[in-house]
Each structure stands twice: as C-alpha cells, then as structure tokens.
Symmetry: D2
Subunit: 282 residues, 4 copies
C-alpha cells in the first residue's frame, strides 16, 4: 500500500493581538485573534521531514504583530488582506494560498458622567465579529461574519401546521418564546468593499427583522433576516445564517394547581433545534 498526501495546510492559531491607535484626543482599540493557514508546496516536510520550504508557524505569528505595526487598517477584513497578501506574494512558488481567519472582540468606549471616555473601554459580551480572507494567485476573497449575537422575543412567534408522524408529540402553538444565538457569514463581492459599513448594515438588519418580523417558523425568520441583510448591504453576494432554537419550555405547573399563561418557562441548553440556510441574490 502506498499513501499519498491528498491535502494539507498549516499555520498558527489564536495569535492574539491588541492594537492601540493613539490619537491626540483619544485612543482607538482593536483586539483580534488571528489564525493563519498556508497551502502550497509542503510535501517534503510530510514525507521526508525536510523543512527547507516550511515557514515556521512561529514566524507566521511574528508576522501578525510586525504587519500590525507597519500598517493602518480600520477593519479586520483589511488586516486579513494585508496578512494574506504578504504570505502569498512573499513566498512565490511556495505558498499558493493563505487563509486568514480573524475574530474581533467588540470593545466599545465606556460612557461616563463626563461623556465617552477617550481611553477606557468595555467589552459587553460574547458577541464577536468574524472575517475570513483567502488569498491565492487569482486574487482575494473576503467574507465577514458575526457570531454569538443573543436575541430573544417573548411573543410574535407561532409554530403549527407541521408534518405529524408516529413519533410526533409536540403541541402546536400560536405564541411562543424564540431565543437564538445568531451566527452569520457573508461573502463580499469585492476585496475593496466598505467592510465597516456593510457589517453595521447587516447587524442592524438582523436586529430590526428579528424584532419586527411575525414568525411562523424559525426558518421563516431566518430567511427574512437573510433577505433583509442582502437588501441592506448591496456589496455582499450571499449570506449564510445558523440559528439555534434555544428552547424555553412552558413549565408544567398543573400538578401544583397553578395555571401558566405563558409566564414561567424552563430555559434549556440542550437539545436545541438548529436551522441553517444560505440566502443568495437571484
């Protein structure tokens, strides 16, 4: 039997960078975790252990910090492009593709009694901004994203009229809680898009749609959110959403002689429904 190397990539993950940009009247802050992954002519190190063509992952890590110092950038997408282009153009014939994944912590300026503080920040939560940049000899593709955006609506959600089989016990409902943690990825039409503007427009479209949409299924809400995002951000080609349905189950209080008109729920972590779709332009 002979084995062959069908595919490979390598890089450094969780390279954690904090960049402070010091203006006269304020500081700006970006915290990002970077993953690099290179593809190319790396067969030797796998087969014979000859590392002559291997750019160490430690060097890739150093490169993240060094390029962050040498370049100004407003978005993680822009930084991903700087990194990806460096690896592909810097090592011709060796690195054929660089994939850069970036996860940004969402620090925002603290509001104080004296106004927004120029150099103090809070990170309100779990929610992060994502980007994936892939650079190869043909050019660059850029994707943006969000994960862990937690939303809940206490009403305006129904679920009924579904398929019933012998294992169905779920009761139909005209009024339920929907609680989710939005993960989304979208593909930019160009590596010169206004990433900041699109990100803000998409996030806003999610919030508005989730709040105002009357939902007959999580699928319908997901589709509406995706369509609204495409409407709001003309420079994205398509968007994928992944919406867990984090069930809040109506507590059964009957054994205690109590009614429960949609007031008391058991919040659960598992199992959860998972609804996923990609919405594109016609």
């Amino acid at each position: 039997m002979a084995a062959i190397l069908a595919q490979n990539n390598y890089g450094k993950s969780q390279v954690r960078l904090t960049k402070v940009t010091r203006h006269a009247d304020r500081h700006d802050l970006m915290e990002v975790a970077v993953d690099t992954a290179l593809q190319g002519d790396f067969e030797d190190t796998h087969i014979t252990g000859d590392n002559a063509k291997v750019l160490p992952t430690d060097t890739q890590k150093n490169t993240v910090y060094a390029l962050a110092r040498q370049h100004a950038f407003e978005s993680i997408e822009a930084f991903g492009l700087i990194l990806g282009r460096h690896f592909v153009s810097g090592f011709p014939k060796l690195v054929t593709e660089a994939r850069i994944n970036l996860t940004e912590s969402l620090w925002k300026r603290v509001s104080t009694s004296k106004g927004p503080h120029p150099t103090t920040f809070e990170c309100p939560g779990n929610e992060v901004r994502l980007a994936e940049v892939i650079v190869d000899y043909e050019g660059a593709s850029v994707a943006g994203g969000i994960s862990d955006l937690l939303l809940l609506k206490t009403t305006d959600s129904e679920f009924w009229g579904y398929l019933v089989d012998k294992y169905t016990t779920l009761k139909e409902t005209k009024d339920r809680i929907v609680s989710t943690s939005v993960t989304a990825h979208w593909v930019y039409n160009s590596d010169e898009s206004d990433f900041q503007k699109s990100y803000a427009a998409i996030r806003n479209a999610f919030m508005e749609t989730f709040a105002h949409h009357h939902s007959l299924s999580v699928q319908q809400t997901l589709y509406a959110m995706g369509a609204a995002a495409l409407e709001a951000a003309p420079d994205i080609a398509e968007i994928s959403l992944s919406l867990p349905n984090r069930h809040n189950l109506l507590a059964n209080l009957e054994p205690f002689g109590l009614d429960n008109p949609n007031q008391i729920f058991v919040a659960t972590s598992e199992p959860f429904g998972l609804i996923e779709a990609t919405i594109a332009r016609e």
Copy 2:
C-alpha cells in the same frame, strides 16, 4: 475508626427560569439560574439511607418554578428571599438553613428604528448579576454581586517602585494597559434594602472609577472602586472585589527593526495576576 458527619448540604443547581411579565404595552423578561442548598437534620440519609427527612432536589426545582408563578418580584435578591424563607419556614425542625444562589442573564430591550421594542430583547454578554440569600431561624442575609464585567484602559496606569528580589525581571512602567474582568460581591445591611438601586449605583461607581482613576497599581484601583461603591450605596456594609490582571504584553518588535511606542500588544489569557480585597466601612 468511626467516621462522623461534620457538615452537609444538598440542593438543586442550575435551575434555569425564564419569567415573562406581560404588561399591556410591553413584556418584562427575567432569566435566572437558581441553586438551592439546604442544611438541617439530614444525618439519617447519610448514615442509614433513610430518606424520610429528605426533600428531594427535584421538589426543590419544582418549587422554584411554582413560587416564580405565585409571586411578583423585581430583583433576584427578592426572589431568593421568597425561596429561602419557603424552605426554612415550610419544614420546621428539618431545614435549619437555606442558601439560594442566583445568576441573572442581563437581557435588555432591543432598540429599533421605531424605538425600544416592547417584546424583543438582546443579551449583550458574559456579564451577569449575582445574588446570594441565606435564610435561617435568625433571619436572612442578602448579598449582591457582579461577575464578568470586562474593562480595559489603554493608559493612565503605572507600575513601578516595587520590591525587587533575585527572581525579578519585570520592567517598571509609567504607561501600560490594564484589562480586567470584575467580580464583586457586597453584603446588604438589611433584607429590605432597595436592591435595584444599589446594584445600579455600585455598577456605575465601578465604571466611573475605573475610567477616571489614575492607577499606580491594580490594588490601588481595586481599593478606589470598592470605596466608591461604598460611597454610592449606603445600604451595603462591605464589598469584596476580585480583579484578574489580564496582561497585554508589549510585543517585542526590535528583531524586525521596528519600534513599538505602546501600540502593539500580545493579549494573553494565562498566567494572570489576581488581586483580591474586601473594603469595609470604618
């Protein structure tokens, strides 16, 4: 050798309740995880397996949902008092002490283009509100708390003039990043305090002090935050803070011929400094 039962308690943990209070014009939402722990005359079940005096943890769980239905409460402290008093007064001679720990997810109303939405909520993050209520035959003690409040300041922090021994390599600094995740617990003077008002005042005192304090050590910042909280909330007796020092290390770019005037940092998770103190009134 004879073994004795020196101490014991038991209960249900992570009883997760979502309560929706339905007003004509809006819904209010509280999500809380409750832990119950009872102490009392429970020797039999340990020694002989006779469970006649054991209120099952499943019943304790049911009680959380049933009492949530029967009582209105504005704060988790108030709900903890309802639960704790139920267990101690409901089982005289059996339950001598009930300890209720509550962790509240901080859902807030979503802002939309049409104003705050009446029935849609977002949960920005990790930060939670905490309470611990202990009820025994003497009465009730109530503690409030916060954890996972992430704050960072990019300047106005120094650290120098410290003790140096043979294992010291740290360089003194007049300007560093301080990043922390605030955990705090405070003890109320009374079980009739205005818990909502004190919580808001303490959280605000933390934000203002962290932002405006010029720090010579994390200890000094911690003390100032604690003292400000005592000042802002007259009905608390003392406050304990636990401040991890989540180091952002200045990246060494010298090998690449680059300077680094406090702009590029390596964010780290471990190891971290941990500074803890209790501040009380004189």
Copy 3:
C-alpha cells in the same frame, strides 16, 4: 432585488442518549450525543411560513430515543445508519438527505479488587469517538473519527532547517517536547465495514506511531500517523488529521543564574500551531 434560498438544512442538535443493555451477567453502556440535519423540500417554510412539509426537530429528537429502543447496535456508526435511513426512506420526496453526527463518551468498565465491575463505569476523559453518516437516495456514506486524544512526547522530536525570513526568530532544536490533541476523521469504503475493528485499529496505530516515530516536524509525524492508520484499517479510503502543536516553551532561567537542560517548560494554550492534512491511498 429578489432573494433566493440557495441551501438549507435543519435538525436537532445535542440529543443526548444513554443506552443500557442489560445482560444476565453485566450491563453494557453507551452514551452518545446525536445531531440530526435534514435537507429536502423545505422551501415553503422559509418563504411563506407554511410548515406542512416540516418534520419538527422535536419529532427528530423523539425518533432518536424511539429507534434506540427498537434496534440493537454496537457502534455509533450503525446507529447513525439506522437514523439516517429512517428519515430518508420514511419521508419520500420530502427528505432528500439526512446527515447524522454522533459523539460518543468513552465510558469503560471500572476495575475493582474483585475484577471488572459488571455495572459500574468510569469516563476517563475528554477524548470522544465521532461518526458522521450521510444518507441520500443513492445510499449511505459513513465516516468515523476521534477527537481530543491528548498525547505528549518529551523527546525524539526535532525542528530545524526551515525557511528563514526577516520575521523569523525561532531557534532550531534537535530535542523538543511535542504535545498535541489528536482530531481525526476517516471515510469508510462501505456502510458494511466493521466499524468497531477499524476504530480500534486506527486508534492503536496513532498511539504506536506517535510513540515510536522519530519526528523531524509535526507534519512528518502526522503523515506517519495517517499512513499507519491506512495500513491498519484496510476498509477506510482516506483519513484526515488535525494536530495542534501545543507549545511547551523552554523556560528562560538564565536571569536567575540557572541552566535549563530541557527540564523546565512553560506550558501554553495559545497561540498554537495547527497542522492539518488528508492522507489517501494511491
């Protein structure tokens, strides 16, 4: 602008099943978390909210428990096939593909002074066994896997002769620690393979190769592990490995006048190298 539904799937995640098979002389135990994901004719629920073709995720969950009761199975792969075939054959023209992901906790019988205990189990760790079964109208594909298998070797690992650029600071080494957490996925040639035997053979090939291979790079070790697995398990077509390089950095004790002949290391979580490849048969 018109939006279209480009792709979609939905199901229930983290359906957690414990199955006890009660023999006369012993019990067998399987604990598995199941994720179901269905693809098919689900456009209506997305576009109009008409759920007539939707098999609720709650029903999918029920199905997991009901089929676990009705069928005997030795492996999670076999259970995945039972589930996947149920969804595809049970709802013709509706469900065109069912993807079942299974994660098994590795409970093993406790050894006692009286021998292996017939009904008591321990779960030694993080390590899990994985399977992914995809069923469509054409048939079924089955993949097996492992994740979180933690291995470390204190010697027999070198890394030198690599590419050096202006951002390279790493020192060459002829003797380092390699610590990793193996994740692997492999594709079976048939849905009638002996999944139990192959799993055991692959895991054993990993352990033997990691231990006895003299490593010139993590890539070389990965390739050797993959090739050994292909050798050991004739009924798999290819195997993908993902090996984080969890760095143990030699502690710098020079400032304290101490040498450090590869004895004292700083264990780190982040950043980490990540080496990934797919090894196939020629």
Copy 4:
C-alpha cells in the same frame, strides 16, 4: 465615610509548568498549574499606590519556574510546600501567609506493543489532582484533592421513602442510574505525610466504594466514600466530597407504544442535584 481594607491577597494564577525529569532509561513528566496568593503588609499599595512592599506577580511566576529547577519533588503537595515556605521565609514581616493552589494534569505513560514507552505520555482526561498548601508563621497546612472523576453505575441505586410536599412530583425508584463527577478535598494531619500513597489510597477507596456500595441515596454513597477514604488513608484528618447528581432521566416512550425497562435514558447537564458533606474522624 471612611473605607478600610478589611482583607486582601494577591498573586499569579495559572502559572503552567511542565517538568521533565530525565532518567537514563525513561523520562518522568509532571504538568501542573500553580496559583500563588500572598497575604501580608500590603496596605500601602491599596491606599497610596506605593508599591515598595509589593513582590510583583510576575516575580511570583518566575519563582515557580526557578524553584522547580532547583528542587526535586515527587508530588504537587511537596512543590506547594517549597513555594509557600519560600514566600513566607523570604520576605519576613511582609508576607504573613502564602496560599499555593496546584492542579495537576494526569499524564501517564503510553502502553505500546513494545511495552510502556519511556518518553511518551497520554492524558486521559478531565480528571485532575489538586493540592492546597497554606504556609504562615505557625507552619504549614496541606490539603489534597481530586476533581472531575466521572463515575456512573447503571443499577444498585434506589431513591424512595422521601418527604413529600405539595410541589413533589418525583416518582420513587428502586433502580436508577447514578452518574456523578467526584470532587474531593482532604486535609493532611502533617506536612510530612506520604502524599503519593494517601492520594492513591483515597482514589482507590472512591472507586471501590462507588462500585460496590448499594445506594439508597447519593448522600449515603457520599458518606460511604468519605468513610472508606478515612479508613484507607490514616494520615488525613477529614475529607469533603461534592457529588453532582447528573440525572439520566428514563425516556418516556409510551406515546410511541414502546416500553422502556430501564434501557433508554435522556442524559442531562442541567439542572443537577448537588450533594456535599464533610466526613471527619470521631
């Protein structure tokens, strides 16, 4: 209002050390995460920001690595004593108490076809060994511990005859699954105890007792495990156990016309019972 500093401590957490002891025929491996916490004359830094008496947490971290190099030790308890004594005796009048917490990853030698491998290790899991050493002017106290030891028994566990109130819905059972994750802490009589021997004896007592004990309540099992540990390890004074009851709920298959003779269970993470007690010698 005047604030006072009622209590304080500070130190470095998650100082992660890997120590390789290189014998002629094999290597030994210890991986431990160390937390240091010092108490003493640290009022100045809190009140005025004068750091003259502060031993930086960075220095505490360096000390962990430097002392690990200079001393041989077999157990984490022994290493904790070395560290604690260094801080208390090295800074007289300043450090009045040092608390050292240690968490050991349980690496064990890999078994291969050629026998136990001399330099390759696996870490089977979550389970860790714990120690807490407190040194002050009076001497040293040492505690050992275990956490995340996962055990499950499929039978030999009952729960009935308990107190019933108006919120009780639990059904009595003569045969249930008990699944737990053992956390235990024990106090040594002396800082010269044989920590290795006691740890092994206590862990073994847990396994034997959990397996062979016929349980009428988790409390009874806990007590039996504690008593067995005291019996097995004469040099410990008392032991505290914390046993979550990780419920496996009998799946209700009646709606599908199926029976369920204790075969199919829903494994759950939350809520969970939590049973805690301290067992001492008479």
